[in-house]
């Protein structure tokens, strides 16, 4: 095991709740919540200063942001926020699963894209009866994402290529490959865009009743969330991941195969990312559209949510929801006040930098020794 890998493990300590007395767990959570609120507050103040410098009124801008995130006629903006939170929280959970076991998965974007494309192609070209088609397409997406992430694990464990680097760099060929496949082999030439044909209705993830834009992808996400929580709190595998994340040497001493654990964690992480791709394709777009999964930076916002919340699933969900609200709110803010929506991304990064400098996300002794 290289020490690069050992170094990466130290991040997980702040968010994880190891088997320690309960009162201390609660206290550390409370500390984290306070740090989060304080960082967000300072971040918003800095954001206000930026808005002011660029010649806009911060109060108006923030009012438009809150309105754009939560209200609107029939709470349509709140629905948008929830729909945007689905991929962000999903990508956050994908990052957090690897994170918890002490591995960096910066390849969410590539896994998301390949998962989305695989689900679209499965929905279009695999002859299956209607009730099986949608679940099969989602499964194909999960498999594609999981296998691609496993390839990075293979590079780490067989060839000692650090996961931090391989996962990041693998994003680029994945994106290029998906563009190539869509453009040269599966393109719907009836449209002017680089996209596949629309998938059959049977493969679509349906809208929820109630006349809103909420779709059943929400339930897939919730089951991933509960599954991740169950895994980390109630299973041996989750305990082993936790231990490996906190102290890989101790975990290995205790008889845990870090390699097996690494493959499992990376496959699971990539599979969640692939599933998110499938949800976007089968619920939102109805086809694979080149760039539509990457342009909104879901993978990166999700990663930021995981960095913000540590690796506890519910914390990631809360952070992801918060970031989704910031983004949809910023969209509304741009429309009413002309402050560019990219302010949301700036705010997210500032909040993370503040929280990293305030809380216990510290490197261990290995930096000096």
């Amino acid at each position: 095991m290289t020490s690069t890998l050992a170094d990466t493990s130290t991040e997980s300590e702040a968010g994880t709740v190891a088997p320690i007395p309960r009162w201390s767990a609660i206290r550390s959570r409370a500390r984290r919540l306070i740090a989060f609120l304080l960082s967000s507050l300072i971040g918003l103040v800095i954001g206000g200063v930026i808005i002011g410098i660029t010649g806009h009124n911060p109060v108006d801008a923030y009012r438009a942001l809150v309105d754009g995130a939560l209200f609107g006629p029939n709470f349509v903006n709140l629905v948008s926020t929830i729909n945007r939170a689905i991929p962000i929280v999903g990508m956050g959970l994908a990052a957090a699963i690897a994170f918890r076991a002490g591995f960096f998965n910066l390849g969410g974007e590539g896994q998301l894209v390949l998962g989305g494309l695989a689900s679209a192609l499965a929905a279009l070209y695999v002859p299956l009866p209607a009730p099986l088609l949608m679940p099969a397409a989602v499964l194909c997406g999960a498999l594609a994402g999981g296998l691609y992430a496993s390839f990075a694990a293979f590079l780490q464990f067989r060839l000692a290529v650090p996961l931090l680097i391989s996962t990041l760099i693998l994003n680029y060929p994945a994106r290029d490959f998906a563009t190539y496949l869509t453009n040269h082999h599966f393109r719907d030439i009836a449209t002017g865009m680089n996209e596949t044909h629309t998938v059959p209705d049977a493969a679509r993830i349906p809208l929820l009743p109630g006349g809103t834009e909420l779709h059943a992808g929400l339930f897939i996400l919730l089951s991933i969330l509960l599954g991740a929580a169950f895994l980390t709190k109630r299973t041996t595998l989750g305990y082993e991941m936790n231990m490996a994340g906190l102290n890989p040497r101790f975990a290995r001493y205790g008889g845990i195969s870090l390699q097996r654990l690494g493959y499992t964690a990376m496959f699971a992480s990539g599979a969640v990312a692939g599933t998110v791709g499938a949800i976007l394709v089968l619920a939102e777009f109805g086809r694979y559209i080149d760039g539509a999964l990457t342009d909104p930076l879901y993978a990166w916002t999700g990663l930021m949510a995981a960095l913000l919340a540590g690796s506890g699933p519910f914390g990631v969900a809360a952070a992801g929801l918060f970031f989704a609200a910031l983004e949809t709110g910023a969209f509304g803010m741009e429309q009413t006040t002309n402050v560019p929506q990219e302010l949301a991304q700036v705010l997210q990064a500032i909040i993370i930098l503040l929280i990293v400098s305030r809380t216990g996300l510290r490197a261990g002794e290995d930096r000096t020794g």
Binding site: L159, L170, V356, S357
Partner: protein, 308 residues
């Protein structure tokens, strides 16, 4: 055969030289950080910041040189943030680096939209770039001449900086102190060397170098596009590993990636551009895998970042 000839010609090597410069400059920055024991994964973001502020400086002043100075200053300032958070406040340098990369992406787009009211790409006649320098008689040397001649001064400067970095690290007291901090901080500290000061120095220098790398990217094209660093900062991180944190090693690794980049570009007539675009990234991973396999075969200890 004639196809091969159209791919491997002296234009290829000429564009290799051009592609190498940004990776090399960022790699030299990453190398300095590795030497003081800081793993800098923010090279990508620093380069992007440099590319943007080079255009800002050049656009408002009408002088390319002002653009370069602005880029270097912006890169150094951004790296100072990294230094404060990672060195002084003890935050995890990888997490901070990733967050800074994301901040750079968001901030450059935000600023581009507020300052220039454009989206995606900013191109304007008022952005001044650098002319390609002809090296006089050197340009007339057969084979070598057309390859090394006709680049911006930043490209030639990057070669000199390889030597300068070597001299700094291995021939100057400052470099000795920096290496001491990276190898055995307690020992360096007990001899009165400030670990913090050395790490700040290396990080700020790396920011300046990445700023210059970014200036080469944007001013050679006289435009800025969203995310125009496109993973080059990460390739530079790999170049530091492959080059074992040695300036000439980093030069060799950067040359390899620049060559892959140029081959991909030249193959565009023969293969779909989506496939050729992936070549540098695949080459990077393959080179790293081969390097690690050979390193393991010789059973050397330690991480690549700990240097030679």
């Amino acid at each position: 055969m004639s196809e091969l000839h159209s791919i491997f010609n002296d234009t290829l090597l000429n564009s290799t030289v051009r592609s190498v410069a940004p990776i090399l400059l960022a790699g030299l920055g990453g190398l300095l950080c590795a030497r003081v024991g800081v793993f800098n994964v923010a090279l990508e973001g620093l380069m992007l910041i440099g590319a943007f502020f080079a255009v800002v400086g050049s656009y408002y002043s009408g002088h390319a040189m002002v653009g370069v100075v602005t880029a270097i200053a912006a890169g150094a300032l951004f790296a100072t943030v990294l230094a404060v958070l990672a060195v002084s406040l003890g935050g995890n340098e990888v997490v901070i680096g990733i967050a800074l990369n994301l901040l750079a992406t968001g901030l450059t787009v935000f600023l581009m939209r507020t300052m220039f009211s454009v989206q995606g790409e900013f191109q304007d006649d008022r952005i001044k770039g650098f002319p390609a320098l002809s090296l006089g008689p050197v340009g007339n040397i057969p084979i070598l001449g057309p390859i090394v001649s006709g680049h911006t001064w930043i490209v030639y400067c990057s070669w000199l900086l390889v030597i300068a970095t070597y001299v700094l690290l291995f021939r100057m007291p400052l470099g000795l102190r920096m290496r001491g901090v990276g190898e055995l901080p307690q020992a360096a500290a007990s001899l009165g060397v400030s670990v913090r000061k050395m790490q700040y120095t290396a990080l700020i220098l790396s920011g300046a170098l990445c700023g210059l790398a970014g200036a080469q990217l944007s001013l050679s094209l006289r435009l800025f596009t969203e995310n125009m660093s496109a993973g080059r900062g990460w390739i530079a991180v790999v170049a530091v590993m492959l080059g074992q944190a040695n300036p000439f090693g980093v030069l060799g690794a950067s040359a390899l990636f620049g060559f892959a980049d140029a081959v991909g570009f030249n193959l565009q007539g023969n293969l779909p551009s989506e496939l050729t675009g992936a070549i540098p990234y695949v080459a990077t991973l393959m080179a790293l895998a081969i390097y690690q396999a050979r390193r393991r075969a010789t059973r050397s200890a330690g991480t690549p970042l700990e240097g030679s």
